[in-house]
């Protein structure tokens, strides 16, 4: 697919996520605006980091909450990482779910904490699928934009003719 088509597809995807209420447009736009020519992969990198971090945190939380005697203090780091990163990329519903988890853990309520963690996991999976699509689109756009120009008079050959994006 050509570049304009990919950009349109990306735009539609983001709009649908905003309309669904799972993405904060302004916050995600700030992340997109940080993409520069010297770091054209920034958006896909950040989203990959977000997904990796979220999965690690959710795994840790499941492990700690699965113990018979839950040490609630151990949950703080993972919860704050989830809350912070979801807020930074604009993952709205996931952030809200994390706020509920914070309250349950503060009250040292194991049952509520487990329920809240299920909700966090659900919201993560809901957004993760769409974020992966964004990553794929970003990578395809990068592949097209970083290809050497072939249509100018000088035959493009080798890295010296690679277009800077």
């Amino acid at each position: 697919m050509a570049l304009p088509g990919l950009k349109q597809q990306l735009q539609h995807l983001i709009e649908s996520m905003v309309n669904e209420g799972i993405l904060v447009e302004q916050q995600f736009a700030q992340v997109q605006e940080l993409k520069t020519s010297d770091n054209p992969n920034f958006v896909s990198q950040i989203l990959n980091d977000f997904c990796d971090g979220a999965e690690t945190s959710i795994t840790n939380l499941n492990k700690f909450l699965g113990e018979e005697q839950v040490e609630f203090d151990k949950l703080d780091t993972s919860i704050h990482l989830l809350k912070g990163s979801s807020s930074s990329i604009g993952a709205y519903q996931m952030r809200l779910a994390t706020v509920d988890l914070v309250k349950a853990v503060d009250e040292k309520d194991k049952e509520r904490s487990l329920e809240a963690l299920k909700k966090v996991t659900h919201e993560y999976l809901r957004i993760q699928y769409k974020l992966q699509t964004i990553i794929q689109l970003e990578n395809k756009m990068y592949d097209i934009e970083s290809k050497p120009l072939l249509h100018d008079g000088n035959c493009a050959a080798g890295p010296s003719y690679t277009k800077d994006i």
Binding site: I46, D49, G84, S85, S87, S88
Partner: protein
């Protein structure tokens, strides 16, 4: 307070255990022409500032290079407030402004940080306008008149500038 000449970018030391937040804040700051160093913990921040006892001989960042410290509050082992207190208790570091950031709005936490010396408490996620405030906390240096090298050397040696006290003298370099 750290001083800055008009041409030199403000150097921010960013402390945050969240990789996503570190990268985003790093980019935001650089997009606004700040110089940025990022670390993942309060302990690491003390190391790069040369405050950790075991690593005093070779800090990664000289204390006078960092103009302002921007730290997350919620971090394991040493949180943002712990780091703030450690910095304010150090005679070399206490003049460097410290700004705390957090995704949580906790009035008691905010009040405690401001009372204990934080310049400001910013709510995450940060916006460009938040970062522009950082510049206002760094005092610009008084311009040194360019009237010849002799006079400039005298200004450098003047005790009231505090530069001689604050800047560690590299080994083997004699001060004229």
């Amino acid at each position: 307070m750290a001083e800055l000449s008009p041409e030199v970018p403000v150097h921010v030391l960013v402390v945050d255990d969240c990789l996503v937040d570190r990268k985003i804040v790093d980019k935001l700051l650089k997009a606004s022409a700040f110089k940025v160093t990022t670390v993942e913990s309060g302990k690491k921040a003390l190391e790069v500032l040369g405050m950790e006892e075991e690593k005093l001989d070779k800090p990664s960042v000289k204390d006078h290079d960092v103009n302002i410290i921007l730290t997350d509050y919620c971090m394991p082992e040493m949180n943002g407030h712990d780091l703030l207190v450690a910095l304010k208790e150090d005679s070399r570091m206490k003049s460097i402004p410290v700004v705390i950031m957090s995704s949580e709005f906790n009035p008691q936490r905010i009040s405690r940080c401001l009372t204990d010396g934080a310049q400001e408490f910013l709510q995450k996620p940060l916006k460009v306008k938040d970062l522009e405030k950082l510049r206002s906390y760094v005092k610009p240096a008084v311009p040194v008149p360019k009237v010849g090298t002799k006079r400039k050397a005298l200004v450098d040696l003047m005790p009231e500038s505090n530069e001689a006290e604050r800047r560690p003298c590299p080994a083997g370099v004699a001060v004229a």
